[in-house]
Structures are given as C-alpha cells and as structure tokens.
C-alpha cells in the first residue's frame, strides 16, 4: 500500500465541479436494473398475451361484425372475447399500482431500512444529485414503458370501439388509453417513492402506496373525472352512444323537481301487467320518463360528449403529471432535510 502514491488532493475550492449526471445514471441503472427488468418482463409477458388474443379479436371482428349489430358478431366476437376483454382491462387497472408499489416504494425505503443511506448520502455526489439522479430516470423509464404499452392496448381495444361496445369514456378503459395510463403509472411511482421515504421500510411502504393509489384512482373515476369540463345539458332523448351521461333531473314550469317529488309522482304510475306488454307498446307503457314527460315534466341530462375524449385525456394527464412532479419534489425535499 505504501508503494501506491497518492494523487494530489485539490485545494478546497468553493466552485467544486459536481459529479456528472451520467455517472449517477450508471449507479441508478446498476442498482435498479433488476426492478426495471422486472417491470419490462411483466409488461412484456402481458403484451405478448394482448398481441395474441388481439390478433384473434381483430380477425373475428373483421369477419363477423360488418354490420356491427349482427347475430354473427354477437356469437363469434362479443360472445367469444367479451369476457376476456373485460378481465384484461380490469387487470390492467392494477398495473400502474403494481409498478408504483414494487418499483417505486423500495427505492428509498430499502436504503433507509438497511442503513445504506449512510453510505449513499455521504458520498461526494451529495444527496440532492443522488436523489434526483435516481428518481428522475426511473420515473421517465416507467412512464415510457407504460406509454408504449398504451399503444398496444389501444390496438387491442380498437375492435370493441369499432363494434360499438366500448365508449371512449367507459371507466373500464379511459385510464388505459391515451396519455392517462402513462400518467397514472408515473403518479403511482411518485406515490411509491414518497411512501418509501416517509415509512422507511419497504414492505409497509409497498402496502401503503397500493392503498393510496387505489384511493386516488377510485376517487378520480367516481367523483373527479366528470367535472374536468362543464358538462353539456340537453333535454333531447337522442344522445349519441359515445356520450357519457353524468347526471339527470326533472323540471316543471322551469323549476327543479326534487328526487323525492319524482318518486311520489311515480307512485301513481302503474305499468300495465306484463302480459299486456307487446313489442310496440313497451316504450310508452314501461317508460317512466315518457310518463313524466306526458305530465309536463322535462327530463334533463348532463353529459360529456365523446368528442371530449382527448381534452379529458390531457386534463387527466396534466394534473397527474403535476401531482407526480409535486410528490417527487416533496420526496427530494424530505431527503435533503432528513436527519440521520
């Protein structure tokens, strides 16, 4: 050891050149390649499956669904693949949550859990660069992979759109299409790393980020999304199938009629016994809307037209991106101020 000479130590200099980003990129890759590989393998397997079933679906739709409403289409396309498509779209809802939890939460939690942060945060690169150099490339990587996956899913979903079974706003597919899927994956990752930083242990952080993500996704689908743009209001009964009906109510003489009042009125509405219902009369007999309209009530519907699909995608993508940036910034701030 004595034979090895020492390189000259630089005089300490306030304008110290920081460690280059590309070196941190190597560190991030080396430490997280297994997690990224896991994400790629998981989505890759899913993609192969989507591609194989998607090809069959495309063929079936092309062969039997022109016109779309035919019996052949119902038997050979919707009947045959409908259930699969529903299961696939539900399973895909969980993918961002899983990526966020398993690729995001351990990034910092494991360092804090095993004590290696004492090594990492005392290296010359400094905590700030270390954290940013880890979180940003990982966030970009998972977002990009999710974005690529969306392209495949849009192709997979296309026969259902063509056959008129899936509307763009369908809660089952809206956040798997467009920019939403990538944005949700990014948000899940950001939630995961923040949970890891706050909880400091990998397994509880994984559980917490799954729960937080599920809460956010459900709240968005149930309450938030319909308010992105003020809905259109119509009293027409002739809405296009792509419209997303968000609310409906009745008025009489320009005044809103409460739900309980409507219920009271409908008490006096007794549809004729089923035996008398014929194909031509069912509309008038079994239709409370028609009954109410006849009695001077106007039925109003608020809805989001299908043409708003892309504005909605950008709004959802936009606020999720803003949220993710905020969460990652909060994580970086926490790393900077965390005392050992």
């Amino acid at each position: 050891m004595t034979a090895l000479t020492m390189p000259g130590r630089p005089a300490h200099d306030a304008r110290l050149r920081p460690v280059p980003w590309r070196r941190m990129a190597w560190v991030t890759w080396r430490q997280h390649r297994a997690a990224l590989g896991g994400v790629a393998a998981f989505l890759g397997a899913f993609a192969v499956y989507l591609w194989l079933t998607g090809l069959q679906m495309h063929h079936a739709e092309a062969a039997y669904c022109h016109p779309a409403g035919s019996i052949g289409c119902a038997i050979n396309f919707t009947g045959r693949y409908g259930e699969t498509a529903i299961i696939v779209s539900i399973a895909l809802q969980a993918v961002p949550a899983l990526i966020g939890a398993f690729a995001g939460a351990p990034v910092l939690a494991r360092e804090l859990e095993t004590g290696t942060f004492r090594y990492a945060w005392t290296q010359g690169i400094g905590r700030l660069r270390w954290t940013v150099g880890k979180l940003v490339p990982l966030a970009v990587a998972v977002t990009a992979v999710a974005g690529a996956f969306t392209v495949l899913f849009a192709w997979y979903n296309q026969p259902w759109v063509a056959a008129g079974y899936v509307t763009p706003f369908s809660a089952r597919v809206f956040d798997l299409l467009g920019v939403a899927f990538a944005a949700w994956t990014l948000a899940a990752f950001a939630i995961g790393v923040l949970a890891g930083m706050l909880i400091r242990r990998a397994v509880p952080a994984i559980a917490a980020s799954l729960a937080a993500y599920a809460g956010l996704a459900f709240a968005t689908g149930l309450w938030l999304r319909e308010h992105y743009i003020t809905p259109l209001v119509t009293s027409s009964t002739n809405l296009p199938g792509s419209a997303w009906i968000t609310n409906n109510w009745y008025t009489k003489d320009g005044k809103l009629v409460s739900q309980s009042a409507i219920r009271n009125i409908l008490q006096g509405y007794h549809p004729a016994p089923a035996t008398r219902v014929g194909p031509n009369t069912s509309q008038t007999i079994l239709n409370p809307v028609g009954y109410l309209t006849k009695h001077g009530y106007t039925h109003w519907i608020s809805y989001q037209p299908g043409s708003r699909f892309w504005p909605f995608q950008w709004i959802e993508g936009g606020w999720l991106l803003a949220l993710s940036v905020l969460l990652i910034a909060a994580t970086v701030w926490l790393v900077r101020r965390r005392a050992a």
Binding site: M1, T122, G124
Partner: protein, 305 residues
C-alpha cells in the same frame, strides 16, 4: 496544514425532547487520529452524523476541513465516512461496490482499491453480503480510503470484529493516517487499543464533551497519586478527577503535571490513556474540563467552562 479538521461551537442536537448532544465545543486540529470515546448513548454517533452532514444541528454550528459547513459539497468531497455496521449494498459484488463508489465521487483511486482488496484476499466477484464481517469492514474502509479523503470518519468501526480483524482494520487506518496524512475521527467504546491508535482524545458523556485534547498533553497533565487511604480526602492541592480506594491505599487521578509537588508519603505515577479515560467515564460529573486544544483561541469560552 494547521487547520481544524472539525470545529464545533455550542453544537447541540435534540431528538424529540432528548438532547443527544449539547453545548459541544471542539476544535480538533488536522493530522490526528482522534478517538471519540464514551458510553453507549453518550452522543458519539450524533456528533459524527453532524460532522458528516447526515444530521442537522438543533443548536450551534459545526464546520469541517478548516471552516467548511458540514454536509456542503466541498465537505462531502473531502470526508469519507464509514457508518456503524459498515452498510454496503449486500447484493452487489465487491467490484460493483468499487464502481459505484467511483461513480459517486469526483475522485476515486481504482488501482489502490483493487490492490487493497487483492492484498486482503477479498474476491471482486463475491457479493458484499457474502463476505465475512471483517471483510465487509475492510471493503467499506477500502472504499472510503480510495476516495482519498482529507478526513476519515469511522463510527464504531471495530465493534463487530474479532480481535484479528480488528487489528488488521486499525492497521490500515493507521497506515493511511501515517503515510497519506489522512486525519481520522473514530468513535469507539472499546478502550483497550486506544493507546496504540489515538493521539487525540474526545470523551463524551451524557451528550457533553468531558475531555478533549491531545493524548500527550492529557497524559502530561494528569498524575496518579498513591498514598494512605485515610489521607485521601485531605488532598486538595490539585483538582481531583477520580479516587479509587483499595484497602489501605488510595489512588487519586488528579490534574497535575510532573512538576507539581507531591505530598509526603504519597507517590506520583504517570497515567495510562485507558486508565485516564476510564476514570473520567466513572465520574461523568467530574469537571467538564476541556483539555488543551489548539485553536482554542477562537473559542475563549471553552477554557472557562
């Protein structure tokens, strides 16, 4: 290079309602192997965490490497820290730990690190988690030294090691200190080999600095007086640190130099470092006397404490 490698003024750190460290005044000149000694919970790790920038002070200030703020980029660049239990990425092979450390620093002496690991017989392709405790400690130390730091900070580096590994580890530290002029600050509750290792002693007790000074100065300013136990209480000439009675004889550790007069029927002996440290540890209240430290002029309050 006559700078203070670590300097604190009124430094305090509180966790919740407990002060882990308070009113810490230190000025350790460069070029020493400084030992931070004290019982568990005395604040050793807290002080080291503050010095390497892992923790932020609640009160006061800490600077390193001659006035750099602890945790600043320049300070991080010049200090290598090996934390307690030598945390390494257990799933990474030794070679990748080397690469990692090289990529996380502006300087890294790869040939040195490789040569060191070769000498130690640590296989480069073995995962860090599969190495023995001694090898993990050596790997962590090698990574730290290959950064060519000006200050090496070690938190309980040998606590988990067997005697042989402990000896090898300290030998490497001392070589770095002697050959490359690296200043060392290490904490330990193992007093046994302090004498061989340290030439500067900082004694912490209950979050406060009890003793700080160069070992030679401390030895020169303390004497053990041995005499009749009956007369022990009457000795007031010099400040008493600790009195130990064995049957008819009493052993008094006092702050006195070789020139100080010895009472009749008493004998004076020089004190060993371990004995001195032990005496202070037994008397946590015994005069929080900051020992002579260079750079004291910047902190005149320190001597009057």
């Amino acid at each position: 290079m006559n700078v203070n490698i670590i300097e604190t003024s009124g430094l305090g750190k509180r966790y919740g309602s407990t002060w882990a460290l308070r009113e810490c005044m230190l000025a350790v000149p460069a070029g020493h192997v400084a030992a931070l000694v004290g019982p568990n919970g005395a604040g050793k790790t807290t002080l080291l965490n503050l010095a390497v920038g892992l923790a932020e002070p609640t009160a006061g200030a800490v600077t390193v490497l001659g006035g750099l703020a602890a945790g600043s980029p320049a300070a991080l660049d010049g200090i290598a820290f090996v934390a307690q239990d030598t945390p390494l990425y257990k799933n990474l092979p030794a070679a990748d730990m080397l690469h990692l450390t090289r990529n996380l620093n502006r300087r890294f002496d790869q040939p040195y690190a490789k040569a060191r690991l070769g000498e130690l017989g640590i296989p480069l392709n073995r995962r860090a988690g599969k190495l023995s405790g001694g090898q993990q400690a050596q790997l962590a130390l090698t990574l730290a030294l290959a950064r060519r730091p000006r200050l090496l900070v070690l938190d309980e580096p040998v606590a988990m090691l067997d005697p042989l590994a402990r000896h090898d580890f300290m030998a490497l530290v001392l070589t770095a200190a002697a050959d490359d002029g690296v200043s060392v600050l290490l904490s330990s509750h193992v007093l046994a080999e302090l004498e061989r290792v340290a030439d500067y002693l900082i004694l912490l007790s209950r979050g406060r600095v009890q003793v700080a000074g160069e070992v030679d100065d401390l030895i020169a300013s303390h004497r053990v007086l041995t005499g009749p136990a009956a007369e022990a209480d009457r000795y007031t000439e010099r400040p008493l640190v600790h009195a130990r009675r064995a049957d008819a004889q009493a052993h008094l550790l006092v702050r006195a130099t070789a020139d100080d007069p010895v009472p009749p029927r008493w004998e004076a002996h020089p004190v060993g470092l371990e004995e001195l440290a032990m005496a202070y540890l037994r008397e946590p209240g015994a005069g929080a006397l900051p020992g002579p430290a260079r750079g004291r002029a910047t902190h005149p309050t320190e001597v009057t404490k």
